[in-house]
């Protein structure tokens, strides 16, 4: 059973179900508070009947710095999913999907062109999940991660920059059908 609501700082004392899971990173306090301070509607949680946090999504709204406006890599005003996690006991209930939808609604409300996120190119489950939600690969960021999740002999791993257009992008100008063919360097990502 779950409730969906906006994050509150007190939730940080109830994160154990999510953050003791080895796949979920724990950040410094300032990181969480920055998102709560700047983009409160894009930081949503799911809680169980005891108030334990069993899932959360953190997102932000941004665009590339103006100085890059004429660069081919310039990103217009958009929402970015920084982190999304669901506690092991709450998986397979669609909580991740519901959280993502809430963030997308907030992106629409804030007039964003699209929602994007980065995912390891070998994380097939996550990629399939996002594709089922309407996300597609926009570009491949070569050697974006400084380690490899499944092959210890490799020192890096590519990221897929995945996007889903929002209501504003009526003409679907900010997505590509063949994004997996577009490779960029990490230096092209701001």
């Amino acid at each position: 059973m779950a409730n969906f609501r906006r994050f509150r700082p007190d939730d940080l004392n109830k994160l154990s179900k999510c953050n003791l899971d080895p796949l979920t990173e724990t950040y410094e306090l300032g990181f969480y508070l920055q998102y709560h301070a700047k983009w409160p509607s894009l930081f949503q949680v799911a809680e169980d009947q005891h108030g334990n946090i069993i899932g959360y999504i953190m997102g932000k709204l941004e665009s590339s710095p103006d100085v890059y406006q004429f660069s081919e890599h310039y990103l217009p005003w958009h929402a970015h999913i920084t982190a999304v996690t669901v506690a092991p006991e709450a998986r397979r209930l669609g909580i991740g999907k519901l959280l993502s939808e809430q963030l997308e609604a907030a992106a629409d409300e804030n007039d964003a062109w699209f929602v994007d996120l980065f995912v390891r190119s070998t994380n097939h489950r996550a990629i399939a999940f996002y594709k089922s939600m309407g996300y597609s690969v926009f570009r491949v960021v070569k050697d974006y991660y400084g380690d490899h999740s499944s092959d210890p002999t490799q020192s890096s791993e590519d990221a897929f920059d995945m996007r889903k257009p929002t209501k504003r992008d009526v003409k679907r100008e900010h997505i590509r059908d063949d994004g997996e063919k577009y490779e960029v360097d990490p230096t092209d990502v701001w």
């Binding site: 059973m1 779950a2 409730n3 969906f4 609501r5 906006r6 509150r8 700082p9 007190d10 940080l12 004392n13 109830k14 994160l15 154990s16 179900k17 953050n19 003791l20 899971d21 080895p22 724990t26 950040y27 410094e28 306090l29 300032g30 969480y32 508070l33 920055q34 709560h36 301070a37 700047k38 983009w39 409160p40 509607s41 799911a46 169980d48 009947q49 005891h50 108030g51 334990n52 092991p88 006991e89 709450a90 998986r91 397979r92 209930l93 669609g94 909580i95 999907k97 519901l98 609604a105 409300e109």
Partner: protein, 1009 residues
């Protein structure tokens, strides 16, 4: 801000390159010289400001402090300072000016500057500066000035900054009482006016002073709830523009969510009923996304409100009506909402008056409640959270229902389940539910205390098995263990089944192991502890059953290492066993770091120095990550990232972050970190750099501060019903962190700091007599304060239940010692000895003797070759640690008193100011008593070391665990099956032994004088 607080601000462009370069490169002597030269030549006071700022970076105290003098002069001068001067002085005084002085100095100057330049863009920077020092007084003034300067600006932030800061000030200790009401009303009235504008305008434009954004609405309602009336809140809730439903239609859920909580607090259940019904209907009508309000809390509150209605049957039928609408479309919903709907069906059934339940005359327990439970489980029994979802409902069943549920309904469901793998999941769930019911009082009936003239040792008869029982029923617990073990072995023996487990949410054997462990712990007599029960957690516990539980869990950890509930429980059990180094090995992979340490740190670190101080020896300081978290997060006076919230217009975030920051500064975990580290440091003769109340992290903690415990137990697997305490209360060494214990720890450290203070060797005061008198006066005052505070906390009604028995004795004695010292210092040899003194020393003797007896009871069991009695000692290091701490507190108090006496004798040869000889005699006697106890501790540690060095330990531990070989009872046999018998337990026994040895080795290096 345009510059970091820690980097110098840019100088004005008019300053020449040479001075600019010197200043930017940090060539402070050159910068001072050049600035002085320019000032003389140009008579521009800005150069003097540069000179003073550069001087602040030099080593000399006079140069450093010149900036403070300059700031003071500006404040008193009443002129409006130059903006660049303020920037330079703020940077220069960083580290010199205490943040609490900011409001009276730079804050005042910042506000003065903004009043003179209200439209200047730099006003925002002044506001930010004040906020960084959390100077709400001047920040409010600045924000109000800016709001007045831009009354209808399209940048709405000025207005709402002003209101937010006025509100923050009204609830802050920075606000003087005389103006608190004024600020409260000011914030409220401004927002009410804004609310009225919104209510009466067809459309609010950004330049209007009405409420527009969700954050503005949230701010209004927070202020209204704090400073307004309930009637006004309820009136606004009805508003078609401002009410929670109106906001919900706009896609804004937060107000609706918060309103439900507020109404619940007020007991306004009729209103909750209305609100939930309307909100859910909005989804059906299409005014919001269909399932927008379908949170579990909404359904639950809806059903609870209906059950509290005057006509509860009609209200519940209305709930059913709304529910039916959602049931008819639930195929469109995600799994989460489907589950919420299913649970609501369950909740509604359990809310029906029992009179409406029509039990089957053939099966009294076959009620709609049981039927609904089974219907829910049919869909969800294989989900990880199935047990948690139904446990509260199962615990509400009458005995007849529970019996029918467990003996008819569930077995029928099991019989109808075709898939083998699901059958075992269901069996595991059945075991958990069986255990749950042993914790429910309705499964027991009272049994007469005397039968046929014979006293009965068990007060109940179990209604399931008809055996005489305590709570819980031992017979049922044994049966659960045996049945769980059989199912466990059944799974392990079926390779096809084992192969299917990775596809499941959870290995059912993990659940079975946890049920067995909980049953073993209960059967062994483990119970919640405070100071009113046995001093040692395991003293009255059957060690064999306890060890079986630990072994079983340890074995399961190897099979399911990723389960954090299991890991957390095992850590607690090893801490109880005194195997701290091994507990740490199990704790470390959980990677508790950064933000979550405040909530999870106590699960390992609380009382750690009293069990195994040796753990602090070694490379990386054990609690450094915790300390770093607090130092980093609380470095500035303001809440972390607060300016981000201001600049983003996130007003409710500002209030929440401010509240969170306040609680983090008052965290019990923070105090635990400081106290544990100091206690461990002192164990090994280390010196603490600062006195505890001088530490920046503790600087605002006073007796009136309520310290907050935020320990997160959410990841514990709790099989207990709501009729008793949760699992964490059983497996902790003592009561959890609390305000009382944190304060007592803090005050005791202050007392010990006072005793150990030594003036630097080169400190030679010019007037030694005068200084000595002042020192004595200071000591008296400080001791009076500490004695008063310690006594207050010790005598609070709740305090004994917040401490272990040993802690209660320790803090009581420290409190008495501080009183004794105070009496000693204020009684000279010519005075009569106060009558309270003998009473006080007698109380110390008596309490100390009690603690020593507890210690000796377990320590006397240590012999060579070791017997089972040594177990009591190995698992009760806490009492020994507290006895040591108490003995040392006594010795240090005695030494302190003697040292004062000798100093006085040396200073005043007449002896008039020396201490009273009777008091000294008393203290010397206490000192001897403490010395004797320390000697006993030393001998005890040595004996433990010798005993642990003896041979035959593996066999011994296995014998403690399983009893004599071949003589295992049914429970030990059931456990043995799962863990692979004695052979399978040998490696574990070795680890246990190794950890005990490490712990005792650490104790061997602890200083006892």
């Amino acid at each position: 801000m345009s510059y970091s607080r820690y980097e110098p601000p840019a100088l004005k462009n008019s300053v020449d390159v040479q001075l600019q370069t010197a200043f930017n490169d940090g060539n402070w002597n050159t910068a001072v010289r050049l600035a002085e030269k320019r000032f003389k030549a140009l008579k521009d006071p800005y150069y003097e400001v540069i000179k003073i700022s550069a001087e602040s970076q030099l080593d000399g105290t006079a140069e450093k402090c010149a900036v403070l003098v300059a700031i003071d002069k500006l404040v008193k001068g009443k002129t409006v300072p130059d903006f660049d001067t303020l920037s330079l002085y703020e940077w220069a005084s960083d580290g010199l000016l205490h943040h609490s002085d900011y409001a009276q100095t730079l804050g005042t100057l910042r506000a003065r500057w903004v009043k003179a330049n209200p439209k200047n863009p730099n006003a925002v920077q002044c506001l930010q500066s004040c906020l960084e020092y959390w100077d709400l007084v001047n920040a409010q003034q600045i924000a109000a000035t800016m709001d007045r300067a831009f009354p209808n600006s399209s940048d709405r932030k000025y207005m709402f900054w002003s209101i937010t800061l006025t509100f923050l000030l009204s609830i802050s200790p920075q606000c003087v009482e005389a103006t608190r009401k004024l600020y409260s009303q000011l914030a409220l009235k401004q927002l009410e006016r804004a609310a009225d504008i919104t209510e009466s305008s067809p459309k609010v434009e950004p330049t209007d002073r009405g409420l527009l954004t969700e954050q503005e609405f949230d701010l209004y309602y927070r202020v209204l709830l704090t400073h307004g009336t309930k009637d006004e809140f309820l009136r606004r809730m009805q508003s078609p523009r401002l009410g929670a439903l109106a906001q919900l239609k706009e896609g804004r859920k937060n107000l609706f969510w918060e309103t439900l909580g507020v109404l619940e607090g007020w007991g306004e259940w009729d209103r909750i009923f209305e609100l939930c019904r309307e909100a859910l209907n909005l989804g059906i009508q299409g005014s919001t996304p269909t399932f927008f309000a379908c949170d579990w809390q909404v359904w639950k509150k809806f059903a609870v409100a209906a059950s509290k209605a005057k006509n509860d049957e009609a209200a519940l039928s209305e709930v059913q009506g709304v529910l039916d609408k959602f049931v008819s479309i639930k195929d469109k919903a995600t799994e989460m909402y489907k589950k919420n709907i299913s649970l609501t069906l369950l909740e509604t059934t359990f809310r029906l008056p029992t009179s409406t339940l029509s039990p089957n005359p053939d099966h009294k327990g076959s009620t709609p409640r049981v039927t609904q439970l089974i219907l829910f489980l049919v869909n969800y029994f294989d989900k990880l959270s199935a047990f948690d979802d139904v446990k509260d409902y199962v615990a509400q069943l009458t005995f007849e229902e529970a019996k029918f549920f467990m003996e008819n309904a569930l077995p029928k469901m099991l019989g109808e389940e075709p898939e083998r793998v699901k059958q075992v999941i269901l069996k595991a769930l059945q075991c958990k539910l069986q255990y749950l019911l042993t914790t429910c009082p309705q499964t027991l009936s009272n049994h007469p205390s005397v039968v046929d003239g014979v006293d009965q040792d068990k007060p109940y008869r179990c209604r399931f098995c008809s055996e005489l029982a305590s709570l819980p029923c031992e017979h049922c617990l044994k049966k659960i263990i045996v049945e769980a073990s059989e199912t466990y072995m059944e799974i392990s023996a079926d390779s096809e089944l084992v192969g299917l487990i990775p596809r499941l949410d959870k290995d059912p054997r993990l659940d079975l192991a946890l049920v067995m462990v909980n049953s073993l712990l209960k059967l062994g007599g483990l119970r919640q502890r405070g100071s009113d029960v046995a001093p040692s957690p395991l003293r009255d516990v059957d060690s064999s059953l306890f060890l079986q539980a630990v072994l079983l869990l340890d074995t399961q950890l190897k099979a399911t290492p990723a389960d954090m509930g299991l890991r957390l429980l095992l850590v607690q059990l090893y801490l109880l066993l005194g195997c701290v180094s091994y507990a740490h090995q199990i704790w470390a992979p959980m990677d508790v770091k950064r933000t979550i340490q405040d909530a999870l740190g106590p699960l390992f670190f609380d009382r750690i120095s009293s069990i195994s101080p040796g753990l602090f020896l070694g490379g990386k300081p054990l609690m450094e990550p915790l300390r770093h978290h607090y130092s980093h997060s609380l470095h500035d006076a303001c809440p972390l990232r607060i300016w981000d919230a201001f600049s983003s217009g996130s007003y409710s975030s500002i209030l929440e972050m401010s509240d969170y920051d306040s609680k983090l500064r008052r965290s019990c975990t923070l105090m635990m970190t400081l106290v544990e580290e100091r206690q461990a440091t002192k164990c090994f003769g280390g010196k603490t750099e600062l006195e505890i109340d001088d530490l920046p992290l503790a600087e605002n903690i006073v007796d009136e501060t309520t310290l907050v415990n935020k320990t997160d137990y959410g990841s514990f697997t709790n099989l207990e019903s709501c009729h008793g305490p949760p699992i964490q209360d059983f497996v902790r060494l003592g009561p959890e962190l609390s305000n009382e214990r944190a304060h007592l720890g803090f005050l005791t450290e202050q007392y010990l700091d006072l005793l150990s203070f030594k003036a630097p060797k080169d400190y030679k005061p010019a007037r030694p007599n005068e200084v000595a008198l002042k020192e004595r006066s200071y000591l008296t005052e400080r001791l009076a304060h500490l004695n008063n505070s310690l006594t207050n906390f010790i005598h609070q009604a709740e305090t004994p239940s917040r401490l272990t028995g040993a802690e209660l004795t320790y803090y009581t004695i420290v409190s008495l010692l501080s009183g004794g010292l105070l009496t000693g210092l204020t009684t000279t040899r010519t005075d009569a000895v106060p009558q309270t003194l003998p009473l006080l020393t007698a109380a110390i003797r008596s309490a100390f003797a009690g603690l020593r007896t507890v210690f000796l009871t377990s320590s006397n069991g240590v012999s060579t070759p070791p017997t089972a009695n040594i177990f009591a000692s190995l698992t009760d290091m806490h009492t020994m640690a507290l006895l040591r701490a108490t003995a040392l507190a006594i010795k240090h108090s005695a030494a302190f008193m003697l040292s004062v006496h000798e100093k006085e004798l040396a200073r005043d040869r007449s002896g008039k100011t020396a201490l009273h000889k009777d008091i000294l005699v008393e203290m010397k006697a206490l000192d001897q008593l403490a010395g004797k106890a320390l000697g006993e501790i030393k001998t005890h540690v040595q004996k433990l070391k010798t005993a642990l060095g003896e041979g035959g330990w593996l066999d011994r531990v296995l014998e403690w665990t399983f009893g004599d070989e071949g003589g295992e009872d049914e429970v030990a046999k059931a456990v043995g099956e799962v863990v692979g018998g004695r052979g399978g337990a040998e490696e574990w026994a070795g680890k246990l032994l190794e950890s005990w040895r490490e712990g005792v080795k650490g104790w061997g290096t602890v200083r006892l004088e």
